[in-house]
């Protein structure tokens, strides 16, 4: 199963995104930001790449700004 991550400006937004996604029944997990994507100390939201559009839609509806969505392939 291929995975992707959503990056956020701050942990606050990552945790909020996790909460919202879980409420919608999506299998997401907060993981450290992969070094190749950003040198932030924080976490990002990992999800199943199949659900990319669904994740984007949910976060968009919640008014959550992201710092990019990346495939972990």
């Amino acid at each position: 199963m291929s995975l992707g991550v959503v990056l956020f400006a701050s942990t606050h937004f990552a945790i909020r995104a996790e909460k919202i996604a879980k409420e919608k029944g999506l299998a997401v997990k907060l993981v450290p930001v992969p070094r190749q994507l950003s040198s932030d100390c924080g976490v990002c939201l990992r999800f199943s790449w199949d659900e990319k559009s669904r994740i984007e839609e949910i976060l968009n509806q919640a008014g959550l700004q992201t710092e990019g969505v990346h495939s972990l392939e």
């Binding site: 701050s10 606050h12 950003s38 100390c41």
Partner: protein
């Protein structure tokens, strides 16, 4: 807590705290412990969730849609300093009331020396503010109005909504110091048109000392806000400049995770009981105390004299008694703990006519009882009859 003690200094800090607050803090220290927003491991994330949930609950309590606009700090004083020093520039005009605490007065007086234009509008001896005084004080360079929601000396409530409307009509920012009311009296940023709300976590929100913060309304452009401190935030780590977004802009350094765990539990307690029920209980205690005091020969009660128009903070004196002696005897002979003096609010005491001798302040929380109020009245009555 010693069973015999009656703690009536909740305006300074609430005590006791609900058991759930102590348990949440213990659990944080035993089982969570990580540094929120710094690392990617599970305990850092769990700690981040604690901070996040505390933020969400503050946002819910004050009618704020976006909890990232809640920034945590040590206390209301730090929050007030952030709002004032972070937004005001030399030449700006600020209006405040004569009932303010030194948490507002001292930073304003310091800024005045650096070129701030300050107007302190008078309040009545009961601590009331006529919103028309604010209207009259407005000038071309007026930038902000700062008011406490309730006086920490006499509990008198100030008219937030009328002043909020005046500020909005003139494009002036409105900052409120809710140290004595957050958790007791409903506050809604939208309804009262508040732009900046400073709160403390350790009074009526039942969290521990070392927690508080500032709610930054949507009309405040955070790009114009200078933080009090800069440093590590766990975000934008590749840059040597401070992030420009909330809450990170104003939250440098390791946050008080254990304190915020306690504050979260305190907020759950407040939201669980319901703010209306808390207010009703405190109003009943306040009314009983005021009515009882008025029946004691020689007792002087300051403030509104009306529990509807104030929070559960009552200032009093006994004729022929020095306030410090009265407070000391209440503690020594009856185990009743009050606060004496000027309560860090010299301007408020000048307004109510008790400067420089001060008053004895009785301040109650939701966890005080009518029996405790009755015992306090009996104790004061006994001392009044004995004489100083």
């Amino acid at each position: 807590m010693n069973e015999k003690l009656i703690y009536l200094d909740n305006g300074a800090t609430s005590f006791p705290k609900p058991e759930a607050v102590i348990q949440a803090m213990t659990a944080f220290m035993r089982e969570v412990g990580g540094n929120p927003g710094r690392s990617g491991h599970r305990l850092s994330i769990e700690s981040g969730r604690v901070v996040f949930e505390a933020r969400e609950k503050i946002a819910a309590l004050f009618g704020v849609g976006d909890s990232s606009r809640v920034v945590f700090g040590q206390n209301a004083t730090e929050a007030i300093n952030l709002g004032l020093k972070g937004l005001l520039r030399s030449g700006d005009h600020v209006i405040t009331s004569s009932m303010e605490h030194n948490s507002v007065m001292r930073p304003l007086r310091a800024l005045e020396k650096e070129g701030l234009d300050l107007t302190v509008v008078p309040c009545s001896r009961e601590g009331f503010l006529d919103p028309a005084e604010i209207q009259r004080a407005i000038k071309k360079n007026s930038r902000m109005v700062v008011l406490n929601h309730a006086s920490n000396v006499v509990g008198t409530l100030l008219p937030l909504e009328p002043v909020g409307n005046i500020c909005r009509n003139h494009g002036i920012l409105f900052m409120v110091d809710a140290a004595q009311t957050a958790g007791v009296i409903p506050i809604d940023l939208e309804k009262e048109k508040i732009d900046l709300l400073a709160f403390t976590g350790h009074k009526a929100l039942f969290g521990p000392p070392g927690t508080g913060g500032l709610v930054i309304g949507r009309r405040v452009d955070e790009k114009t806000l200078q933080p009090l401190k800069r440093g590590g935030t766990g975000s934008r780590s590749e840059f040597e400049e401070q992030p420009d977004f909330l809450p990170d802009l104003c939250e440098s350094g390791t946050p008080n995770g254990v304190g915020l765990a306690g504050l979260r539990a305190g907020l759950e307690f407040v939201l669980g009981v319901g703010i209306e029920k808390i207010r009703d209980h405190e109003r009943k205690l306040t009314a009983g105390l005021i009515q009882g005091l008025l029946r004691i020969p020689g007792a002087l009660v300051y403030g509104s004299g009306d529990a509807e128009k104030q929070c559960a903070v009552v200032s009093l004196n006994l004729e022929k008694w020095v306030p410090s002696e009265l407070s000391f005897r209440l503690d020594e002979e009856f185990g009743i703990l009050t606060r004496v003096g000027l309560h860090c609010a010299p301007s408020a005491h000048r307004t109510i006519g008790t400067f420089p001798e001060g008053t004895v302040r009785v301040s109650m929380s939701y966890l005080n009882t009518e029996e405790e109020v009755e015992q306090t009245l009996q104790a004061i009555n006994t001392l009044a009859r004995k004489g100083a």
